[in-house]
Symmetry: C2
Subunit: 349 residues, 2 copies
């Protein structure tokens, strides 16, 4: 039944003839899929910008439009559920272009056998997260797949926001001289999930940082609109985010390793599992590339906001080594912070 009309895949994507887990890891394999499969097939300049959301002009309105599929396991984890994650994740993708998120859609793929009470609890959390963020879930769809062809529930949310006139925040807008800020401690969401999966226990349980960031962004912009690029470091963690911006903007990024706030529990869990916190997913943090002269004002505004209390400057943008992220280590040396090929996997033996 497969009729390719003579069309052939543009490049042998490394050596993989089939999809592997790493294609969804937010690293190099994910980027290859986009570059070799989706961009050539979909052919348009908006997609090619690879922002967290697309910027569209519709009549007199400037809209941000974004989508994200959520396949997290377990469905319920410390600090959240797949439902609030799906709402906040898409809100954050919109917020990273400076947009005010307004409306969300939700597509559910349910697996036969999912307890109705679990679906109800997830939907309830989605509704609560939307109300908390001031957005409205206006449209949706539900499909059911046979047992053994899903994982309880997968949710794809899409969102529409309005981008204020004149604002242009995008991954390719970072400039040498910019300071790089992070809004707080990294690694919490990923290690909360990983701890549950691996059965780790700590004195203080690790909780996901899942939160909507648009109000924090609005507060930052009100303090000083000279913000060039924003991204929430989800899959692939801080390292992937810094690399994506460095590459899109054609600039180098230098960070001070010791300046990156990492909670002791995250550090401990990472050590036990053999993971690097720089590559662990977050769901309620952002990285900002800000014009140097605006840095102090933006930082102060972040620290005055509940979701940016521990914001800090972690580095700067340089003209040297474009597309590369370099960290100054604790012992005075430097190391290249590369993107991973696939996913970071916990040490299993």
């Amino acid at each position: 039944m497969i009729d390719l009309d003579g069309w052939v895949c543009p490049a042998p994507l490394r050596d993989y003839p089939t999809i592997v887990m790493g294609h969804g890891g937010g690293g190099k394999l994910s980027a290859e899929l986009v570059e070799h499969i989706f961009l050539p097939a979909f052919q348009n300049g908006t997609l090619a910008q690879l922002g967290d959301s697309a910027l569209l002009e519709v009549g007199a309105a400037r809209l941000a439009f974004s989508t994200d599929s959520f396949v997290v396991r377990p469905l319920f984890f410390p600090g959240g559920t797949i439902g609030d994650l799906a709402v906040n994740g898409t809100i954050n993708d919109l917020a990273m272009s400076g947009a005010q998120p307004l409306y969300l859609s939700a597509g559910f793929i349910l697996e036969e056998g999912l307890p109705i009470t679990q679906l109800a609890a997830i939907a309830e959390r989605m509704g609560a997260a939307a109300r908390n963020a001031g957005v409205t879930l206006v449209t949706g769809d539900t499909k059911v797949v046979d047992r053994g062809h899903g994982d309880g529930v997968y949710i794809t949310t899409s969102g529409i926001g309005v981008v204020p006139a004149g604002l242009r925040i995008a991954p390719d807008q970072a400039r040498p001289g910019d300071v790089v800020l992070v809004s707080g401690e990294i690694g919490l969401h990923g290690m909360a999930i990983m701890s549950v999966r691996e059965g780790l226990e700590f004195g203080t349980p690790l909780m996901s940082d899942c939160a909507p960031l648009h109000d924090l962004v609005a507060t930052m912009l009100a303090a000083n609109p000279n913000i060039h690029a924003l991204r929430d470091p989800t899959r692939g963690g801080l390292a992937a985010t810094l690399n994506e911006i460095a590459r899109a903007s054609g600039v180098g990024v230098r960070i001070i390793e010791a300046a990156v706030p990492i909670p002791a529990e995250v550090r401990a869990a990472c050590e036990m599992l053999g993971l690097d916190p720089f590559y662990v997913a977050n769901e309620g943090k952002l990285v900002a590339f800000v014009a140097r002269e605006a840095g102090e004002a933006v930082l102060a505004a972040m620290r005055a906001h509940p979701l940016g209390r521990n914001a800090t400057i972690i580095g700067e943008v340089v003209a040297e080594h474009p597309g590369m992220v370099v960290a100054r280590t604790g012992i005075g040396g430097t190391r290249v912070v590369d993107t991973l090929v696939g996913e970071q996997l916990p040490r299993i033996c």
Copy 2:
């Protein structure tokens, strides 16, 4: 880990403690999920209108916003792939509010082990379908799930369109006196899929009717804007669509069974599998509820369009039996055309 905060499911959804296939069938069970789970959780008037798309006012723009998840098996079928289906399906949901579709997003859930060439072929077909319809795929997301937790690829598309000023086409706008039109033969998509699954062969293979309908709608509106409700009869088929409009508008619908165009191959395949063509899914047809005085003009415009060549009037809207669809049968009797509880399943022995 499941903390319901004391919240309980609003009603025992029939006797099912878990999700069953019928919850995704577009019938009564699907409607119960929406009414008992999603509407109470998401609490807003726009969602409660239950249109194929939501109508939003953003600044001076009137937008339609819609989402649909696609889980069809097989991924490649006569007349299409899951890719063009995902593009045309969301375009059609937008078109059913009279919107001009502009932008699409796509969320991919890939199963480990999917051949890359299949993904590439599907993406290529999506791109081609989008270009053919004049819409742009502007943003996307890709996740990978472990082998045995998907079915090759699931795609969720969302779309944004612009609704012309003054237009109000919605499921609750049908009025007694309206004529009911269908744009062509029914049952092709569903029976093309079913024939492949069941290994049926016919002299002329059944092909999916998968097509974008927005241009047909624009043509109809240009002929006479007095169109009250539009819906593409996908899951649940013509019967579900007529019932949904009857219920939303609080009117009765009367159809002449013999007036509904059903191709001989569809009829034959349905007979072999013990299915009723009225409940079989379509992907390139629409049902229109049109003010009686506009009926002839709209019908003529449909017939002059390549996607409406076999359009015909199949019935009318009445004030009697609100919420109910009644068919006059070939032998002069009448029968109630109800919505199914779940899905129509082929006879397997």
